[in-house]
């Protein structure tokens, strides 16, 4: 019973704190009245942002194509000029593959353990 009373008292006190909080936040709203800009202002901002996004996308695509062309031309040069070097690179890649898989498995096991915790 005593425990029940003390819990009720805490709940009442919480309620009072919440009431004070709501009152304070309501007053804050009154002190800082918001004036919403007109629709034109929003349209200008949306258009400007969309334009910025389009420009960024174009730049990213250009950078991606440049890097891809560079990598491809290096590979082609190696294949035609030094086929042995190319075969060595392929061999190293194949040998490193199990190592990469093992590393990946270990990481996923650690993540799984973290999630179950």
């Amino acid at each position: 019973m005593k425990e029940y009373d003390s819990k009720n008292r805490v709940d009442d006190e919480d309620e009072l704190t919440v009431k004070q909080l709501l009152d304070g936040l309501e007053r804050l709203d009154q002190w800082h009245s918001v004036s919403t800009p007109n629709l034109q202002w929003f349209q200008q901002n949306v258009e400007a942002e969309k334009k910025r996004m389009r420009t960024k996308q174009k730049k990213d695509l250009l950078a991606f194509i440049t890097v891809a062309v560079f990598v491809l031309s290096v590979v082609m040069t190696v294949v035609y000029q030094q086929p042995v070097v190319f075969l060595y690179i392929q061999l190293v890649g194949v040998l490193l593959l199990p190592l990469a898989f093992k590393n990946l498995e270990r990481r996923s096991a650690v993540n799984g353990l973290k999630q179950t915790k």
């Binding site: 909080l21 304070g24 007053r27 901002n45 258009e47």
Partner: protein, 176 residues
């Protein structure tokens, strides 16, 4: 035209619909940020940033929550990121300055400042936000957890401990 139509059109790339959507939610968003930041300038800056993020991510809005709740989620995470980037002392100093300015403005209007806002400002924003979201906006613990990317239990304990601390500090202030 209702909000769902505007959302549908905005997702298809309609600039006017997206602008109307943002205009409809502007005041709600700014008022929310004002309550959690207790700093008018930061609240305005974050409102702008939230709108930019919304323009970028509108395609990802899936309608599971209300549009205003989605905006609150974006704004909340932007605020958390911003506070993490800033140095603790700098944040405290800025908050103090903003509160002093607000108090001065309120006094100029011949109105009385309320201690509860001082107490709320003293709380860490990671505690202040769930308290405001729970008790002012009426979101559930689960919804707040999803918004802030934390567990429901963590939200519960932050709200409960935060209220306890507020109650204690208010009692101390009233006792003075």
């Amino acid at each position: 035209m209702d909000e769902n139509d505007l959302i549908r059109k905005a997702k298809k790339g309609d600039t006017l619909a997206l602008s109307k959507l943002l205009q409809m939610n502007y005041s709600f968003l700014l008022k929310y940020l004002m309550k959690v930041t207790l700093h008018p300038q930061i609240a305005e800056d974050l409102t702008q940033e939230t709108m930019i993020k919304c323009i970028e991510k509108i395609q990802l809005y899936n309608g599971e929550s209300k549009f205003s709740s989605w905006l609150i989620t974006i704004a909340t995470n932007l605020f958390i990121d911003q506070q993490r980037r800033k140095k603790r002392e700098k944040t405290w100093f800025e908050q103090e300055q903003a509160l002093r300015k607000m108090k001065w403005n309120v006094a100029n209007r011949n109105e009385e400042w309320t201690d509860v806002l001082d107490v709320l400002a003293k709380l860490n924003e990671e505690i202040r936000m769930p308290i405001v979201l729970k008790h002012y906006y009426g979101y559930s613990y689960e919804e707040i957890g999803n918004m802030m990317g934390i567990a429901e239990g963590t939200v519960k304990s932050r709200v409960s401990n935060g209220l306890k601390r507020m109650r204690k500090e208010l009692a101390e202030l009233e006792g003075v």
